[in-house]
């Protein structure tokens, strides 16, 4: 491995981390969706770089699929579904932690994922040592976004970020699972998004709100 390759890997990992932070540090559903779209584009670029470094051609196809599905199709589907919703339900007015607290918390989550990945002995492989902490950070940030937000719509975005982290995680550790599994996972996400958007639609029609706390109103006690 040449040093220039290692440097490019490091820089692209850092840029991916910044793009992930973009999902945390925004307000409003459309902003998050745009941040997610940007993050997916960066993820596709990173995947291409990993494909170039490892020299496995299947990874290029995974990168192309990431670009098409995650940065074009999924945001399209979500914007299309949410077009009929009211504006109020799209803005997450009060997450459990305020924006500034959640930014600081996410910085500590990133630190934690770096410390955790220190415990995993894969130091010899530069791809793993650079991207494993980044993928774990993505996972944790997505999880944090998921639990921090009240409306179901924004929780979907958190779920998508987690999925991006998992994708990077498997890609880095296995250097590309076989293509058929990869395609299956992508189809899975797509169907998952469609189903969750149908659920969102029904939820907003039944409760006039996407706040998950209001789901408890169903209980009859």
């Amino acid at each position: 491995m040449e040093t220039i390759q290692l440097d490019v890997l490091k820089i692209s990992g850092a840029i991916l981390l910044i793009a992930t932070f973009g999902v945390i540090a925004r307000r409003g559903f459309m902003d998050w969706l745009n941040a997610y779209r940007l993050q997916s584009v960066v993820l596709a670029v990173v995947t291409t770089i990993i494909g170039y470094v490892t020299g496995i051609w299947e990874i290029y196809i995974a990168a192309a699929l990431t670009l098409v599905i995650k940065s074009l199709v999924i945001p399209k589907v979500l914007t299309h579904v949410t077009k009929s919703l009211e504006i109020e339900s799209k803005t997450d007015a009060n997450p459990y932690l305020s924006l500034r607290t959640s930014i600081i918390v996410s910085a500590f989550l990133v630190a934690m994922s770096y410390f955790l990945s220190q415990q995993i002995p894969f130091k010899s492989d530069p791809v793993v040592s650079v991207f494993l902490p980044v993928s774990m950070a993505q996972f944790f940030l997505g999880l944090f976004a998921l639990v921090n937000r009240r409306t179901a719509l924004s929780q979907v975005v958190g779920l998508l970020v987690i999925e991006n982290g998992l994708f990077l995680f498997t890609l880095v550790l296995t250097h590309g699972v076989s293509l058929i599994i990869e395609v299956g996972i992508f189809a899975d996400i797509l169907v998952g998004i469609v189903i969750s958007s149908i659920l969102l639609f029904r939820m907003s029609r039944t409760f006039d709100s996407l706040d998950v706390d209001k789901l408890e109103n169903l209980r009859d006690d």
């Binding site: 990992g13 981390l17 932070f21 540090a25 930014i103």
Partner: protein, 313 residues
Amino acid sequence: MSNSLEIVIGVIQVLVLMALSPLMTGIMRKTKARTQKRMGASIFQPYYDMAKLMRKDEVVSDQSSWIFRCTPWVNFVAIGTAAFFIPVFLSHSPFGLVGDLLLIVGLFGLARFFTMLAGLDTSSTFGGIGSSREMMISTLLEPALFLAIFVVALTYGGTNLSTIIETASNSSLLPHPQLIFAAIAMFVIILGETGRLPFGNHATHLELTMVHEAMVLEYSGKSLALIEWSQSIKQIMLFALIANIFVPWGISSSISVSTLGFGLVTFIIKISAFAVFVAFLESSIAKWRLFRVPDLIAVAIASSLVGLVLYYL
């Protein structure tokens, strides 16, 4: 006698900073005007303004104390002293032995402290709100600034600016991904320190948007000219810092006329481009509610924290 030559060049650097600083303010105002489809004043307008203010009489409230009268001078001297430590087009400043990045932050703090006192001194309500806002913003900005400085200093081996910039000009940005995070933090901090748009607005004198303007509202004539000049010197110094630390291309490391000239030209181009960029950014965003400002500073702190993590692991 390369040593005395270096000192001469160091003094010239300070004079260049002081001379160019109103020009940067002018360029930013012009850019903002053009993005708003106005013609705007000439980019040399801040020089004319200052010359006019210098000729005018001063009005000082009889309720004010000596603090009010000496603040413009303290401001100017503190910021002017800090300017000696900033490498502009020669990478090693001869005065770097005396002070480093932390001293610059301290001198800025001194200037800001006296400005806040002067805002309170005349006991006008505007001065009071300006000082209280400035205190709130600066207490949050300073830890963020220190964290960002630590990232840079750890990477380049020392808080001395000459060391930092010499190492930076000899190495590439690629092996140091933590510098991207430090640059993001530093950019947010510079917007805050110079009172640019999400933090404050230079263009208006509305009570809602004033931070720095509110504190210096009582000044007139020569004192006002001095305060505005120091403010623009501070601004150009921060621009020079971010440009030379993160984009050190073209800075001269040896004393010869050709490299120094090239360094000066690239420096002017770099900071003008940066000023135009900041002005564009200012036109595209609105002033944030005062209590949302900590959100942005939290971004800077988090970004520097991640930079530190990336450095150590």
